[in-house]
Amino acid sequence: MITARYHREIPQRYRLEAGKCQKCGQVHFPPRRVCSKCKGTTFETIHLSEEGRLVTFTVVRVASDKFSKQTPFVVGIVELNDGLRLTTQLADVDVDKVEIDQKVKLVFRRIQEDGRAGILCYGYKAVLA
């Protein structure tokens, strides 16, 4: 992964920084320049809730080359307690015992690595709460 491309997303991946529209209150993750709900253009930086529930998921058994060593792994959509939804892996679970509506929390983990000599890429993953 190009280092600059990785570096740009650090506030979101490491600290869950989101943009809250000052006009309508809609939270955007990642932050946006224009609010897709009200077209507002001023935002406050907030930190997302780290707890939520699984709204859907899958077990990826055939992955792209980059993730092939990790299979099988769970990827799901988590709805955080503040209502925002994001896509994340669900780590440290028996992949055959995951269920919709399970309570989860976000933790800081290594997500992928850039070959043998490239950077290690970190971010959030969910674990059962």
């Binding site: 859907t56 899958t58 055939v62 792209s64 990790q70 990827v75 959509i77 939804r85 892996q89 992928q112």
Partner: protein
């Protein structure tokens, strides 16, 4: 806007065309379409292609195909809208002719997916790279999450998903251009390799090479050619959020709903007026969700309808994917939307052989990109 018609078609067989180049398969399809239409020139061309840069290392595909088709200096443009690239290219041709800017336009689509690229990774570029794909999600995985949500919310079953694959393989077996001309049983679908739970290998459209092309003209030109034509009575397109997780509902594809509403309005039709529909069944769950979002079945009832055979070629109502769909015909992504138009043309002009829907007069093609972030819909009417 002027009335617009499709007057000729051409396509390659879909499949693993190891010995062929991307330009060669496109030229085969485009040349056949020009010959079939009987036109002596084209005013411009559009080529739908998702990712020649990643699949075969070639960008600027528009100029490549114009050159090898021998039609320079006509304007040539590549259209990219992920797996909806073909439908979007056809729509550009439609708009160019409808506007009066051109009389005869070639709309084609092509993809060469078997040249060794990491196909899973390349297709994933149609999702949000930083906030979906970064976590390792794949396209089967995205549609699997839609399937899980649909099963949880509406009680859709594993058997109902399998019914879609069984029906599309049955239709594909009758299509000489299909990648898979073999029938499968529900047991085979449900015993095939798990790709992304609950989707198995036989729930997924294959990796394919292929090209398709049609000639789009004004209705006046079509009449003068004295060939069978099909009139384009609706062209509509809509978008949605790039990430699946940003949508209010995980089981409704809003771009499909919006594009369908626009198309029905433009054609002054309702879903039951259609004699056949080609839908974008990249995965079995997609056909079920789309059949609901097009208004053919009530929300949550698409699985049941598929299992009851209400979408089969023999159903006597509105069969879905008489061509075999993406599942059996194959899914060279950029070519798919144009190949759907070809199936409509063949059905509406009575050329569909053993797949022929009796008295087919109106057909719809629904083509989509990503996890539903782009949708292009066309309705064609026979003479």
């Amino acid at each position: 806007m002027r009335d617009v018609a499709v007057v000729g078609t051409g396509m390659t067989k879909f499949g693993e065309l190891w010995g062929r180049t991307i330009k060669d398969i496109f030229v085969e399809a485009a040349h056949k379409a020009i010959e079939d239409a009987g036109v002596d020139h084209i005013d411009s061309l559009y080529v739908g292609c998702m990712s020649p840069g990643l699949f075969v290392g070639q960008e600027h595909l528009s100029a490549v195909v114009a050159d090898y088709l021998g039609v320079t200096p006509v304007p040539a443009t590549r259209v990219e809208s992920a797996c909806a690239s073909g439908g979007a290219a056809f729509r550009q041709a439609f708009l160019e002719v409808a506007s009066g800017a051109s009389d005869i336009v070639l709309a084609g689509g092509v993809e060469k997916m078997t040249d060794g690229a990491d196909v899973t990774d390349t297709l994933a570029t149609a999702a949000d790279q930083e906030y979906e794909v970064y976590q390792g999600i794949t396209f089967p995985g995205l549609y699997a999450m839609i399937a899980k949500a649909h099963m949880h919310q509406y009680g859709t079953t594993r058997e109902q998903l399998a019914a879609v694959a069984v029906k599309n393989h049955r239709n594909g077996a009758k299509n000489p251009n299909a990648q898979f001309r073999s029938e499968v049983t529900a047991e085979q679908v449900m015993a095939s390799t798990m790709v992304a739970d609950p989707l198995r290998l036989l729930d997924c459209s294959p990796v394919s090479d292929g090209a398709a092309a049609v000639i789009v003209t004004s209705l006046d030109v079509a009449r003068k050619l004295k060939k069978s034509y099909a009139k384009v009575i609706a062209s509509a397109q809509a978008s949605d959020t790039i990430a699946l997780h940003s949508r209010e509902s995980l089981t409704t594809l809003n771009a499909v709903v919006h594009a369908a509403q626009k198309a029905y309005k433009m054609a002054s039709l309702k879903p039951t007026d259609l004699n056949l529909i080609e839908v974008h069944d990249c995965f079995t769950i997609a056909e079920i969700v789309v059949s609901e979002d097009l208004g053919l079945f009530e929300k949550g009832k698409g699985g049941e309808a598929a299992a009851k055979g209400l979408t089969s070629l023999e159903c006597g109502k509105t069969p879905i994917n008489t061509s075999g769909g993406l599942k059996a015909k194959g899914h060279p992504v950029g070519a798919t939307g144009v190949a759907q138009i070809i199936e409509l043309y063949e059905q509406l002009t009575g050329r569909a052989g053993s797949r022929q829907v009796k008295n087919a007069r109106r057909g719809m093609a629904q083509n989509m990109g990503g996890s539903g972030a782009s949708c292009v819909i066309h309705i064609l009417e026979g003479q």
